[in-house]
Amino acid sequence: MAAVDDLKFQEFDDAANLLAANPDATTISIDEPAAVPKNQHGRLQEPGREEDDELLGTDDSDKTELLAGQKKSAPFWTFEYYQTFFDVDTYQVLDRIKGSVFPVPGKNFVRLYIRSNPDLYGPFWICATLVFTIAVSGNLSNFFIHLGQPTYHYVPEFRKVSIAATTIYAYAWLVPLALWGFLVWRNSKVMNIVSYSFLEIVCVYGYSLFIYIPTAILWIIPQNVVRWVLVMFSLCLSGSVLVMTFWPAVRDDNRRIALATVGTIVLLHALLAVGCLAYFFDAPELDFSAPISPDHNGTTVIIES
């Protein structure tokens, strides 16, 4: 009978214990890579590209870069393939949302937060939340604006939900598709250091829509000035994230094309905000603000709003 012990799986001790037992054994230690590849396409680094490093965000430790090559190996007809797009934890999603709202000057959103792990959870659920937020806020805002009028009868306006859904999901998926196609086409003509995959672009666009959720809630306030200030503010924040993400990708191109691309990105973003504001939110009543004149009898002029 063979020795049963030979067949047992041998447990391996801690590295420290093993080393203590056999101090002369060769050891290999795998640390964080000290020399992180400065650009991911392995081309020669030109001296004038230091700002690229900052934008690429390689100053931070890149542990996940080691694993980047091992992802997404399942064939596309299996369920596991799609699970790789949802491989995020709660804190990662929160970090990405934070990164889309507070643009850090000089840091690229994709390199800093996504790092070869684009997820579809954020874009999908942020878009869903935005759809319902806009529909509900628009309904509420219209209700409050028309509240005093005797002829007003409240309607839930449910059809607008499907319109909102179509618009927002089309924006979040078709614009990245167009942008990705455009970047791939330009990439074949002009060698760019930075190029993004389709999912990374979808990811950036999805997370950049997050700022519109609190904006939509605040649009309930029935003041035109407040609404437009909110539009400008949110546009600046998320627009700057988009610009800082895509500027390195088109910078090497013809100057006019680069500017036109970035300009179109911002313009479409603004169009979405303005379009939603115009369609879902009725204009607040005109306020006739008559100047308050100091009346002798103490009566005051009522400002109608």
Binding site: M1, F79, F85, V88, T90, W125, V155, F158, R159
Partner: protein, 217 residues
């Protein structure tokens, strides 16, 4: 394995015996043929299972009834009754009214499927139909809220009725979300629980909104 070579089956030992599996003590569930029982028994058994799950939803504690013995009768009944009560909200024109029957139906089932897919994609261990079952059954508090709202609206539709409806809907919304979270949260990986709970919150919020904004003709 040197020792095994010595073992051999002697020709003297006859090999005989019975191959049939002995039927021991008959437990009442096996061999139970449901073809011969009266129809009433069949229906009552399913109804009792559904009713038991309703009770589990209203008093959510850890129970395996909803998860292990899932069924979709309860969600179907709840969904249909909720959609029937919600349809035909007031509309000046056809476009501005409340959701129609088909819209409510699709929202509930499509929403539940999307949430289930979401939780499975995030690495949840619950099965597809178990999750659908839980989400469907946890609509029960909201259906109760709809019933209460319709009764309150029969009495009048002023501010007081609105406040009453608001309180009822908010309470039932909280109950639904907590009940479904209690059943579903354990099957999720620990650092992604919030990612799974949030869509459930959104789903019940949308249904609550539809209930709250229902205005009769």
């Amino acid at each position: 394995f040197a020792g095994l070579a010595d073992v051999s089956i002697s020709e003297d030992i006859p090999v005989e015996g019975e191959i049939t599996v002995p039927v021991g003590s008959r437990s009442p569930d096996e061999d139970y043929s449901t073809l011969d029982e009266p129809v009433r028994d069949t229906i009552m058994r399913d109804l009792k299972a559904v009713g038991k799950k309703f009770v589990h939803v209203m008093y959510p504690k850890k129970s395996s009834a909803l998860l292990r013995d899932w069924d979709l009768w309860g969600p179907l009944v709840l969904c249909v009754s909720l959609a029937l009560m919600l349809q035909g909200g007031s509309a000046d024109s056809k476009d501005d009214g409340g959701p129609q029957f088909a819209e409510v139906f699709v929202i509930i089932w499509f929403g539940a499927v999307v949430i289930t897919l979401n939780s499975k994609l995030l690495g949840g261990t619950i099965s597809f139909f178990q999750s659908l079952c839980v989400l469907g059954y946890c609509i029960l508090p909201l259906t109760v809220a709809m019933l209460v709202c319709r009764l309150v609206l029969l009495a009048g539709s002023g501010t007081i009725s609105f406040i009453v409806r608001l309180i009822v809907v908010v309470a039932m919304f909280g109950w639904s979300t907590l009940a479904s979270t209690a059943f579903l949260a354990d099957s999720q990986p620990p650092n992604r629980k919030a990612l799974v709970v949030y869509p459930i919150f959104l789903f019940y919020f949308v249904i609550s909104w539809m209930i709250l904004t229902f205005t009769p003709q």
